[in-house]
Symmetry: C2
Subunit: 178 residues, 2 copies
């Protein structure tokens, strides 16, 4: 098996949502926390591929533009992607998390950013996540799309670091214990 590392890097509300029910992240992108560099650029520089689900992909497309630049983006979906973003390196894939990671490793990827609620949950369930970096904003939104979901078992983590930001955001990094 090739060596490949997988990380989650995600902003959530104090009640654990990554977006409102309709996908809105206004509460995340407005206000004090939006002005901070909370390590996203460093994180992006450290990964060499992104794996997201179709929902996240379409949400990102809906923002207009394409903010992943030339980073290879793998969209997990059983259906063909209708439109591809200009200038983006996007490819559809489907299959089990570990098979997908094998394929990505065989292509030379070493550190994959896994994003989106459904995809993160699926990879966690299949024990295919190494690191989780959660940036928690000081707000309760009450309802929305959760970062975490059914795991089928307890998943123990090791706290790696805690960072506090002026906006009140708290960023915690965890390594999944094996």
């Amino acid at each position: 098996m090739h060596m490949i590392k997988t990380s989650v890097f995600c902003g959530v509300s104090l009640d654990g949502f990554i977006a409102r029910e309709n996908g809105d992240i206004d509460w995340l992108t407005s206000g004090e926390s939006a002005k901070e560099d909370y390590g996203y650029n460093d994180f992006i520089a450290a990964v060499d591929a992104l794996v997201i689900g179709r929902n996240t992909y379409e949400t990102v497309l809906g923002f207009g533009g394409w903010f992943y630049g030339e980073m290879p983006v793998y969209v997990l979906s059983s259906r063909e992607l209708e439109k591809l973003p200009e200038g983006g390196k996007v490819e559809r894939m489907s299959g089990e998390p570990k098979a997908i990671l094998e394929e990505l490793a065989s292509r030379g990827h070493t550190h994959v950013y896994v994003d989106g609620g459904v995809t993160v949950q699926r990879f966690l369930r299949d024990d295919a996540i190494d690191r989780i970096i959660v940036s928690r904003l000081p707000i309760l939104i009450g309802t929305g799309i959760p970062l975490f979901g059914e795991t089928g078992r307890d998943i123990r983590l090791k706290l790696v670091s805690v960072k506090e930001f002026p906006s009140g955001m708290v960023q915690t990094e965890y390594a999944v214990k094996r």
Copy 2:
């Protein structure tokens, strides 16, 4: 209106649960984090009454013994309490959160500890919580009783402090913004 302060002090999993579906908190009371004084005793010394819902009350009774000592405990329920713990000061109440706080203030209480998922959620929804202290353990349990629930609106918080414990528990304290 009398001055009365309300605080939540709660241990949760990284995915936001205060207990498993069946009420079990084995993941919270075993392991490294159980050995730490994470400020619970100081917190308890600072409050002069506890408000809990019937579910939490019955869960606590089920543990055997009565660990709230002589602190006045108000159990929110529309039905009479069948059995009262020996040595405990327990009283049933019912009504809206703010009316209950008025009543407790008129009895001379100044700082109330609000506990239990349903009760915390109800008090938050009714804007009747001042402080939230969340101790987050480095574990995902996947399913259970959530600390937070529907709020009906965004609730903005101010981060007051962050503490990291050797077990990997991260304790954050928030003040509710008004």
